[in-house]
Symmetry: C2
DNA sequence: ACCTGAACACCGTTCAAGT
DNA sequence: ACCTGAACACCGTTCAAGT
């Protein structure tokens, strides 16, 4: 998988002596790195080891290159721009081949697709706050959500409010879903480990007179299935609310300016 | 404001000579640092300069102390724990003196209060994904939200789904609201700068045949007021959806297992 | 015993020196 | 002209040496 192999050229760690001439690779240079290869590598690094593991230097090692080559071949000026590329690449995974109809099914489908991508790439929500979506795939994703509700005859504000509410609801859920999923951001914790920590926290801190409602709720051990249930319940409430509002709007228009 | 003043003791940057005896402060040590002072300083640093500006070293300089003193006096073992303390301190700002009634007003009030805190501390959402809320104020916040819906006679799953949906909707909105607020996370951008960047992005990338819906929508220049409107519209949709579901549940229960 | 200065092993990025 | 090794100015954290 990693390309940091023998024929990567005379890359040596500190104090390492040059290898004898005859054991060196005859190929002086690998094919030049592509931006795509760099971004793919960064993403899989972030997925498996967490965002902190994505350093220019480890990325270089992983790709059998030198640190400065990352800047050259990814055509980035700062590390932040690499993150921008990563964010946009994941946006690509949120695109649907085809939108269902009517608007409600379409919105629901984009939300679920978005959630899938965010569960695969839990570091995404952390990055997106710093980097407004302005990449091509981010734009495509926005266009897609807008296409989902294109049929609705409503004002601009409502249109924007709808797509933002759904999109951001998903991001908000994903921000947490992560840890409680067992697939935490940095050091992967198993569901069992999480459960144990949560129990300890409960007996030590929660079960006091100060927290009657939390105590009454009992131990929390949401499985991934539970998490999905919470997610879809909330999503459907939001969609229900939108739907009701649309009906109200429509009847208002039909009957003139009746409040 | 900063305590890195003259009487902070013989702290010297590299190559600086000791000052003459008579100009040195007679107080050999300041009062020892408190955890609270450290966390407060870290928060105001993050608010004004962004999360990256919060380093153990700058924190120490700011407080007129040495780096290792931060670990000792904040009683933390790693920097991550400082972040945990910061997250929990902000949770404290989300607590209400008193919950309105009924449940809907209570949930709405907690959501708005939460949003206020997140706008003041835009770095919060970035941290919370890495650190599950287990501090005392985080627990109090959870208890508060649970108290808001305590009167409702519904099953455990629905209770959890409701509080998670609302809480996470707010976090999701706050994740973005930031940049588009003009109060971006790291280098503060004015609304005007953001508007200009958005316009440029629009003419260069969006207004092509690929994005008919986005093009039709026209330029986006949401003011903070617009953002708040999007936020509250979505929040009310979510609350409407919950409300409708509750009515449905109630009538189901009243009429036996109808449906 | 508690505290901390110097040291270590990393960073991202600059820039001059290579080709 | 393009590319990159070494250097720079930072990090968080360890640990031995101070008090």
């Amino acid at each position: 998988m990693t390309r940091a192999d023998a024929n990567a050229g005379p890359r040596r760690t500190k104090n390492e002596r040059p290898r004898p001439l005859w054991t060196r690779s005859p190929t002086p240079r690998r094919a030049p790195l592509s931006r795509e290869a760099i971004v793919t590598c960064a993403i899989s690094l972030a997925d498996s080891q967490g965002l902190d593991a994505v350093s220019i230097r480890t990325l270089a090692t992983e790709l059998g290159a030198r640190p400065m080559s990352i800047y050259t071949y990814a055509q980035i000026e700062r590390k932040k721009e690499l993150f921008d590329l990563m964010v946009d690449a994941v946006c690509g995974e949120m695109l649907l081949d085809q939108l269902p109809r009517p608007w409600r099914d379409a919105l629901r489908a984009t939300a679920l697709r978005c959630r899938d991508a965010l569960i695969r790439h839990p570091w995404w929500t952390e990055l997106v706050g710093r980097n407004v979506l302005t990449g091509p795939n981010g734009t495509r994703y926005r266009e897609q959500t807008l296409a989902a509700i294109a049929g609705l005859k409503i004002d601009r504000t409502r249109k924007l409010a709808i797509i933002l509410a759904v999109e951001r609801y998903v991001v908000g859920q994903a921000t947490y879903a992560i840890d409680e999923h067992g697939a935490s951001r940095t050091p992967a914790r198993t569901h069992e480990q999480w459960r144990q920590a949560a129990d300890e926290h409960r007996t030590v801190q929660i079960e006091t007179a100060e927290f009657p409602h939390l105590t009454a709720l009992g131990p929390l051990h949401p499985t991934p299935d539970d998490q999905e249930r919470y997610f879809t319940l909330g999503l459907d409430w939001l969609l229900d609310g939108i739907s009701t509002d649309l009906k109200r709007q429509r009847s208002t228009t039909r009957n003139g300016q009746r409040h």
